[in-house]
Amino acid sequence: MNKHSVLSSVLSDVNTANGLPNEHYIDPVVFAEEKRSVLFANWSGIGFGKDVPEVGDARPIDFLGMPLLVVRDRDGEIGVFQNTCRHRGMILVDEPKKISGAIRCPYHSWCYDLKGKLRATPHVGGPGQNKHDDVDPNDLGLIRVRSYVWRDVIFVNIDGQAPEFEQAHGHLMARWAEFEQPIFHGGALSSFKLEVKTNWKLAVENFCESYHLPWVHPGLNSYSRLEDHYNIEERDLYSGQGTIVYRQLTDDVGSKMPDFQGLGEKWDQGAEYIAVYPNVLLGVQRDHSFAIVLEPVDQEHTVEHIELYYAAGEQETPEFDELRSLNAQLWKTVFEEDIFVVEGMQKGRHGTLFDGGRFSPVMDGPTHNFHHWVASQVEKGRST
């Protein structure tokens, strides 16, 4: 009961609200609760389509202890399954591989096709007898997890109870409709992973706000000042920040990377950085975009999977290799500059006298919006 009253202060107006209490950052019990009520009950990012580029590519992903298998099937569609055999529960695929025919369980060799259908149950009715009246393959396909791929991020709703993705995130999809066009991953240099000693939410919170830019990213701020940023906050949906002074990278001879097609004027110098609750961070600019999936490892550890995308393919446009690598380096620097902050806030959360903190009513709206959403999800979970 006490917890309810604590969260009510998170749910009040930003001017007077407190941030989420410490237990949401350091207590394994609350971490487990958030796993169920926040991460499994909504559309969480688990990986990227570019990691299963070809038909038959299969990639196991451990998401908060839940074994998942991402597969690209023969129609080119991405499917996500529970990576657990329907027979005795063996893990089906333990490392990324190419499935040329069927997924064969390494234990007793039950075989599933790329859509999860059970195709063979060898010796199930005794040696050389591969069917049994009581074992109906139609009932024993792989358990499919609801998934949706947007901006190359693979989202899953583990508990199956969330609204359809396009409903849950329709507002943001409409906001960024102009960017609904092919994106091309920038290749090896455009992919990096940061292991951070922080709770996953602190990475979201820091991403949402521009308040820290002049202090933490002075280099960035020299051309992107605080007053050139605006807050993005949609109650119960998403939050983040935008800039009106995005400047494209140029190389020595003044060339720039190609733009996405048909963008409106807003994007000439505009860029937006939005947290897709719970754990995906996206950025869009006229000539590139990025996606970050936060992998919550435990209440004190998070892996940030960062991927950069462009309007043209890496193979087709080697002339932009240098700009792509420069761009990747710039972002890497920015994201690395944020590490001490998210790790520092994590340490700070062990201060038992900390009350969750107070917000700047003007600057912290996006962060408060996220806290408000998390608190609502947790309360919803507590009430059911």
Binding site: R74, S100, G101, A102, R104, S109, C111, D113, R119, A120, P122, H123, P127, G128, Q129, N130, K131, P137
Partner: protein, 81 residues
């Protein structure tokens, strides 16, 4: 092929995870059992060949399935995967 020769070849193919060879050798073993009218053993080996063919997407998978289905040993595929 003599049985222990075949056994050894099978073990080696398993060790190498040589699917093509596994399909071939298990099919061969099935044929030998069939020649001796040992249908039970033949179906065991056909099953092994079928599973490896299915796993690797080898074209034999469909035919092996049909053979087993003819003997009532498996759900019949109506098409290959």
């Amino acid at each position: 092929m003599e049985i222990d020769l075949l056994d050894r070849a099978l073990l080696e193919a398993h060790a190498r995870r040589d699917t093509t060879e596994l399909i071939r050798l298990y099919s061969l073993a099935a044929e030998e059992c069939e020649a001796k009218q040992d249908i039970g053993a033949a179906c065991f080996f056909l099953t092994q060949a079928f599973v490896f063919a299915l796993e690797s997407g080898a074209e034999e998978a469909f035919e092996l399935n049909q053979k087993l289905a003819d003997r009532g040993r498996v759900h019949r595929f109506t098409s290959s995967m």
